[in-house]
Symmetry: C2
Subunit: 666 residues, 2 copies
């Protein structure tokens, strides 16, 4: 019988799995898994609350590998602790097509990945959302049911990215005490020594953001344990600077940028094995080490059983609510509330900005869906994102509210919303101006890739915002969002479409949705109530060509979104005055329209008709609907500062211009 | 004769110009100009080195209103100090079409705006570039010729944005001692008290980044002066926390978010005038106050004359070099170097990645153009951005180098490059992966809006990067960049096109250029040397349909960019094998192609031919060239992690797929 596995053996199991997998893949990042193997071993064998046999247990601690290029650290941990979806074949086929072990960890591919990481800074910013979700869920269900930590492994890259500042200042402000960041303080970045590009005192920086901070020798298990133990007792989030050597264990390459992102090579691996006395074949983990790891993997099973007992004691209705929200199922009746709202609008026919309509819809849906939580990047009064049901705000120490003042942190807000959504139990929505989607785009991309139901309430959606001028007028933003896979981009034309857009977005459980909303007032165009959600079809004929013109045969199709749909309606009238039969198509969501049948799309777009699109943003991408022979009336450069009506005239986005473009093509 | 103007009167002149202009415009942000009027008055009357009569004097101090919504502060200063382009009519027509006084200050509209600001955080990040440019230019020409400060007014919004962290850590690292940030510490953001969303200790945060910090009473002129005086002597950049009251002078609204972004209203204005004893009509500045301000505006004229004397003493050739680089004129002969390089490539026909070709071209152009300065966001070895001419690197205290280790700060890098370019004297280029253009997009937008020649070297430009997987594979990025006005987006197919792209980008003095470059090797396709820069036409026929097929009449046009041009060439061969006459069009730059004559474009795209486009990124936007009847072979979702050749197969981006798409449409 062999001796029990030592810490060093267990850490070396991580190191050599990483080394071997990267060597076989001929690509990958060994430096971090080797450097952080000791920290990870201490965390997973002594602290992490998890059960590899029940990987999605809701009260598990979360582990976020913000330095996602070190993915082999995560995969090694998963295999060693016994996650069913990470067998040795997965490790052997690291970075290969058809395997779960992607170059960077991906949520939904492997159970152990609580989030997708790789784009630096996203993970630590997600973590703020995870920790906030924990605090908010605990405030709702009590610490007997919700009580877990969020651990983050972050590198210098994560901490140099601006988004990390947004994340840590928000976490510090909200005193998210169960958030613990283990910083891989290895003094190496890709270009070489970190001293090439940074002189930050990271502990002082985190302290300035209200964090507890500590340091440890990242290769001394007891010192690591001491620091984590202390961090868990803090009343503030904690940064632990883990002083490590990148590529620890590689005889000649350790401590150098050369080991960051390339295989070690045969000679270095051989020497590393010898130095560590690791006399095993590639991918071989000796039985006693694997057994020790597997024991660590089931360490949490008793805790889980105890938790199930506590959870079982909840009221039946509370239990059902917890499970419903955790599973992402919407409550009964919420669509009735939207239907009633739609009917009222079609009757009242208000002239309101769609941002105001959005607020009215949010009043309805946040009242009906308690897991919706709102917020804004410091534009609450402009985005109109707060509601009676959501107020009051979440505060440090009181997480019972449903509204978050994210501050002027668009990117951090989006990444935090990803964390809130990934954690489970919440449907987050957050507001800013549409132009500032440019700031949060990398995190929105992650919402899309991770298929998270995150709602982006983006107001002031065109040159129609007027006087704030070109710096605030989105031109390219909508095209970029439409070009991003798995994002539903809605630009509703009136309050009815706004309500329908929210309904479609909430039903879209597997991806984010964006609402581009006007600052300026718009007439109600959907004056006849429909039970059917027309916006959910992406596009539809709002007004067919008049029967009395051209024998009822459509000659022109005017296609528009949002604030320009009413302008297209005016153009239709101008054309009618000249005897031209024009239909108006409202196209609030390209992605949903493209999913309709070919026949439906052809009928809406009017095959053979002259097509003119109009949108008071950049024209890029509209050829998809108007083709090479149609026209697009929109912006081809940046905007200007003036009252909105003056700008529409100045840039030629008018009913006359739309009608003229059609006439020129008849 | 009246008494000389007091500080209070001079500051009130700013306040009431702002109040009156915003009231007349019925929109704008009075809170900041009123709150910072005292600080601005001290700065402009006692410290700023400038001459309103020679607004673009190169050795002037720079003033960056990072909190750009307070634009009326800047316009008031411009009018009061006597800038010729800011008369009282401009102030009276604040935010109106056809006037220079836009909602947010715009570079190129008013001389006093050293940069365009408004999107928060951009200004302070530009400032890092300005201060770096000053240090680098001083290292080249001496302090007799280059010796000025960069002053920044920043609000809480700027400091909460993540980009500010990237900027201040870079500035602190590089010890940019002549950078002085005046923080409008007014405890108010748009949602209300800043305590709603932040608890940062800003001074501690800046200190952690290596800054000198201080605080002052932002309404006490002597205390403000003391702090600025001390800051000018620091050997590090300085943050001065100016404790102010937002909307200072408004009797009921001061100190509240209500005054941040809305006109005061008649009653409040009346009461403010009474409280300040400001018995003047709207827009009226009493003569003695205006005279005092005008004196401040010409205060720097003697300094300027002295500077001209010193500048006159430079060597003729050094003087010419300074003026040439400051004016943005390129040196003689640089195009010959590119032509020679092109010819050599056409002969040698190497198979290299375009990122490697980019490095080779950079070697050529940085040797020929000394004002080019390079850098990378910590991906030097991957982007291949360093050159013999540029090394060694810029370091704190030694600014003579030409290469900047920007660190993992993509957004900060782009904004710093804007500052470097705006300052004058340099043409900056900087590298990162194409996917991380998503991180720097808001700053690239500013390069475009401000018409700055900033070069973005973006490598790893498609799923062709392989194993790093979907988090690192750009899908939507290229579409977004193409949708952004005034950006030249180049995706060269081989080393010849890469050289041509650089030539076209350097000739494009009025906007940024992007190079999307492959990680993987590509064959040389331009095997016949052309003197003409074909890439500068945006698109051209690389291979016409074979004469022996279909009577020499082109049936199919295959359109591709970058790494897919060689794939299109293979498809052409497959089609030829089936007797189909197909041409290949290389379309490296859509923007330049769209500027060509209609006839040229039609001849290239082959009117009447079946069109198939192929690009290993998202297909969004390609209908502009293939229309409704053509096909686009590309990505419709996110990528995957595997070797590149496997991914091309997996996602069906192959010569066979391209050929099949054409055949299906014949």
């Amino acid at each position: 019988m062999t001796a029990p596995a030592t810490h060093a053996e267990m850490a070396n199991a991580i190191r050599f799995l990483a080394v071997d997998a990267i060597e076989k893949a001929k690509s990958g990042h060994p430096g971090m898994p080797m450097g952080m193997a000791d920290v990870a071993t201490v965390l997973f064998t002594r602290f992490m609350k998890f059960d590899a046999q029940a990987p999605k247990w809701v009260d598990r601690d979360r582990f976020i590998l913000s330095a996602g290029h070190g993915s082999m650290l995560l995969y090694a941990l998963g295999y060693l602790t016994g996650y069913a979806d990470l067998d040795i074949e997965q490790i052997k086929n690291f970075r290969q097509l058809g395997y779960r072990t992607a170059g960077h960890p991906e949520f939904g591919h492997v159970d152990i990945a609580d989030t997708t990481t790789g784009p630096l800074g996203q993970g630590i910013a997600n973590a703020t959302g995870f920790a906030l979700a924990e605090a908010m869920q605990a405030a709702r269900y009590g610490q007997d049911v919700v009580n877990h930590y969020t651990y983050v492994v972050a590198g210098d890259g994560c901490l140099m990215e601006g988004i990390s500042q947004e994340a840590i200042t928000l976490a510090g402000h909200l005193k998210l005490a169960k958030l613990i960041v283990l910083w891989d303080d290895n003094h190496i970045c890709i270009d070489g020594d970190t001293a090439l590009s940074t002189s930050d005192d990271q502990r002082a920086r985190f302290a300035a953001a209200g964090w507890n901070t500590d340091a440890c020798d990242g290769h001394n298990p007891d010192d690591i344990a001491r620091a984590i133990e202390a961090a868990r007792k803090s009343d503030r989030p904690t940064l632990i600077a883990c002083r490590t050597t990148i590529g620890k264990g590689a005889p000649t390459k350790a401590g150098s940028e050369k080991i960051h992102g390339a295989p070690l090579g045969g000679d270095e691996i051989k020497a590393a094995r010898e130095a560590a006395n690791w006399n095993y074949e590639p991918f071989e983990v000796p039985a006693h080490v694997l057994a020790a790891w597997r024991a660590a993997g089931s360490r949490g099973s008793a805790e889980r059983t105890a938790w199930e007992g506590r959870f079982g004691k909840l009221d039946l209705s509370r239990k059902a609510e917890f499970e419903r929200t955790q599973d992402g199922r919407l409550p009964a009746g919420w669509q009735d509330a939207i239907a009633a709202f739609k009917q009222k609008i079609s009757t009242d026919q208000p002239k309101v900005a769609t941002r105001k309509a959005s607020q009215d819809v949010l009043e309805v849906v946040t009242a009906a869906i308690p897991e919706m939580i709102g917020g804004s990047a410091d534009l609450t009064h402009s985005n109109l994102t707060n509601t009676k049901a959501c107020a009051p705000s979440v505060k440090a120490g009181d997480y019972s509210g449903r509204y978050i003042h994210y501050g002027i942190r668009e990117h951090g807000m989006a990444a935090a919303m990803n964390g809130l959504s990934l954690h489970g139990g919440f449907i987050p929505y957050g507001g800013t101006f549409l132009i500032f989607a440019n700031y949060l785009w990398p995190a929105l991309r992650m919402s899309a890739m991770m298929e998270q139901r995150v709602l982006y309430v983006l107001t002031h959606d065109s040159i129609g915002l007027g006087e704030d001028g070109p710096t605030h007028q989105p031109i390219e933003t909508l095209a970029a969002l439409r070009a991003t896979p798995n994002v539903l981009v809605f630009r509703p034309a009136d309050a009815v479409e706004t309500a329908e857009a929210y309904e479609a977005a909430l039903l879209n459980a597997k991806g984010p949705s964006v609402f581009a909303l006007s600052r300026q007032n718009l007439p109600t165009l959907r004056t006849k109530h429909t039970v059917e959600n027309l916006t959910a079809k992406g596009g539809y004929v709002l007004a067919e060509a008049a029967k009395e013109l051209n024998g009822g045969k459509r000659q022109v199709t005017l296609i528009a979104t949002g604030s320009e749909v009413s302008l297209a309606m005016e153009a239709r009238k101008l054309l009618a005055d000249k005897g031209v039969a024009a239909a108006v198509v409202s196209l609030p969501c390209w992605e949903l329209f493209d999913r309709q049948s070919k026949e439906y799309r052809a009928s809406v777009l009017g095959e053979g008709s002259v097509r003119v699109a109009v949108e008071a943003l950049g024209t890029f991408g509209w050829e998809r609907y108007v083709g090479l022979d149609g026209a697009v009336v929109g912006m081809t450069g940046f905007g200007a500062s003036a009252p909105a009506d003056k700008l529409y005239q100045h840039f030629g986005i008018t009913a006359e211009a739309v009608a003229d473009a059609a006439l020129a093509r008849l």
